[in-house]
């Protein structure tokens, strides 16, 4: 099961890389906007990987904490980056 998890995370990571590449053509944003956006995505992926492995390990508390501690801030960071830098840039397109 852990192998399936790594495969799926690889697929998601690849899609994210393509998504960010596309977004970089559509939106001109300062470097720190990209840092927050990419950092948030990395945190979300890390949290999902942590939660998945903890779930397979049979420790649901660790799984929940992984989602909360890593994915939570990641989603907040991505949302803020989208709200303040990406979305305005897209609307002006």
């Amino acid at each position: 099961m852990e192998s399936v998890q790594w495969f799926l995370l690889g697929v998601v990571t690849t899609l994210l890389v393509f998504g960010f590449a596309y977004l970089s053509l559509r939106v001109k944003a300062p470097w720190y906007a990209w840092a927050v956006l990419i950092g948030g995505a990395v945190a979300v992926l890390f949290g999902v990987a942590w939660a998945g492995s903890s779930f397979l390990e049979g420790v649901p508390a660790s799984s929940a904490m992984g989602l909360m501690v890593f994915c939570g801030p990641g989603i907040v960071a991505m949302t803020l980056a989208w709200r303040f830098w990406v979305a305005p840039g897209l609307r002006a397109d």
């Binding site: 596309y22 942590w50 492995s53 992984g66």
Partner: protein, 499 residues
């Protein structure tokens, strides 16, 4: 925020898919080319970041060579096996010789206790209760079954430091006359470790024999007599092969229930088995060799010297990746044309100075808590009653380490009618084989000390290290559900990951 400047349109006014002299080619579209270029850069950066993280973790997990791993003071001397608590408890003669030890312990702990009398009925005293998870007939049956091969081979005594048992015999009559000659020291070390691996070792290190860690004199409990290394041991050892034996994560998590004896007893059986086999392997190559479990010497310092881990607050060897969830056996040999391992430092002992989860989980309070004098770390015990004359008889003083009151630990075993294992189960370094635990281990090695207490507090918050939890007993008894392939050995059958 503005959008990016639009790409110049081609002469036909098309945004993409422009033509060339050779026909249509979407790759000639500048925006597409830039998209793929950026995707390639992003993918490359992702791969690079992943490889860098993996590499840094691997480097961190290798630890640093630490030649100054042990500090002793002027009071240090080799340990007399007669003062080892398990040997003392098993020996009638030693209890008769030192009645004051039983009297003093009973008086100070305000309870009637006799080490030898208690040991006689150990593991057979408390009746099972089929309504109490972890203490049912099934758990007791697992407990006794786990140890049974040592009973059947009359070698159970090695757990109490009895030397020269049947499985770990001193007999050297089968040493081959011709000695196998290795081409290099590295080949010798690798061959020995390969043999240990196939027999079931989870770690193996090789170090020089160091008389500081050998019991001296040795003590034959069955015959109530001391033994000398010079006169009784069959040869002069030069090298000690140190082997770690794995213990099951889900089983030891049931501690201190009787269920946990499944992995404890099984660990001892595998200790005897591997030490027996590796010793036979050495004798088959023409060198003298004797296997050992708890007998002959203190296992933890030898394991540290062999680069397998560091000493922990719970008095055990903490090995990166498995923490204290292992047993240690040794093979003494006169073979010395071998590449020796070096002691390493991963910051584990330093982490223990800020953690203390094992001490919190210790039922009798035998382990030094964080608030102990110097955190319980020094050259002599600082636990309660340590100032009483003769109370520290079981401690090996004069070496810098954590000191516990093992008398209280043994007393709890008797009360529990089983060994405990809480200090293994609760340890922050006791983790299953998953990537995130390895990552945290790597981070621990590299992180500053002020983060350690914070990391230790997160361990239970994330759901790890709880002891005395009946749910873990039920979880263990479900681990074989629908089993066709043992998931905990899925990568261990038929491959060393190097083929």
């Amino acid at each position: 925020m503005s959008t990016e400047t639009p790409e110049p349109e081609d002469p036909k006014g098309q945004a993409s898919g422009s033509s060339t002299g050779n026909g249509d080619s979407s790759l000639d579209d500048p925006s597409r080319r830039r998209f793929f270029k950026r995707a390639a850069i992003g993918g490359g950066a992702t791969l690079l970041a992943g490889a860098a993280t993996y590499g840094a973790t691997q480097v961190s997990l290798k630890g640093r060579v630490d030649e100054e791993w042990v500090k002793t003071d002027e009071t240090f001397k080799p340990k007399d096996q007669r003062d080892v608590i398990l040997t003392f408890a098993k020996s009638k003669a030693l209890n008769e010789k030192h009645p004051e030890r039983n009297e003093q312990y009973s008086k100070l702990q305000k309870k009637e206790f006799h080490f030898h009398e208690s040991a006689k009925t150990f593991e057979h005293r408390v009746p099972w209760d089929n309504n109490k998870p972890g203490y049912t007939q099934k758990d007791k049956a697992l407990h006794h079954a786990a140890w049974y091969p040592l009973d059947a081979s009359e070698s159970h005594g090695m757990a109490f430091c009895q030397p020269n048992t049947r499985m770990l015999s001193w007999d050297q009559s089968d040493v081959e006359k011709e000695q196998y000659q290795f081409k290099s020291k590295e080949e010798a070390a690798t061959s020995i470790k390969s043999a240990a691996r196939v027999f079931g070792a989870v770690r193996c290190g090789i170090t020089k024999r160091d008389k500081r860690w050998d019991y001296d004199p040795l003590y034959d409990i069955e015959n109530e007599t001391t033994l000398s290394w010079e006169e009784d041991f069959p040869f002069e050892p030069k090298t000690v092969i140190v082997i770690l034996v794995p213990m099951d994560y889900d089983n030891i998590s049931t501690a201190p229930a009787w269920t946990a004896e499944g992995s404890i007893g099984n660990g001892y059986v595998i200790m005897a088995q591997i030490a027996n086999q590796v010793a036979k392997f050495m004798r088959g190559m023409g060198y003298h060799a004797v296997g050992a479990g708890n007998d002959l010497s203190m296992s933890v310092p030898y394991a540290i010297a062999a680069g397998l881990g560091e000493g922990g607050r719970n008095q055990q060897l903490l090995a990166p990746g498995i923490g204290p969830r292992h047993r240690i056996c040794k093979v003494y040999t006169d073979f010395e044309f071998v590449e020796y391992d070096e002691p390493h430092n991963w910051g584990i002992t330093e982490f223990c100075l800020s953690c203390g989860k094992c001490a919190e989980a210790c039922p009798p309070g035998a382990l030094p808590k964080l608030e102990s004098v110097d955190g319980g770390y020094g050259f002599a015990p600082t636990y309660e009653h340590n100032e009483e004359e003769g109370y520290n008889w079981n401690n090996h003083t004069g070496v810098q380490k954590f000191y516990s009151d093992a008398k209280k630990c043994f007393n709890f075993w008797i009360d529990n009618d089983s060994a405990c294992g809480n200090c293994i189960s609760a340890c922050t370094f006791n983790e299953a084989d998953y990537w995130h635990h390895w990552l945290i281990m790597g981070v621990t090695s590299a992180s500053p000390a002020f983060l350690h207490s914070w990391m230790a507090e997160l361990h239970p918050v994330f759901g790890y290290g709880a002891v005395g939890d009946p749910a873990k007993v039920n979880k263990f008894w479900e681990t074989g559900k629908g089993m066709r392939i043992n998931p905990s050995m899925k990568n261990n059958i038929g491959t060393s990951n190097k083929a």
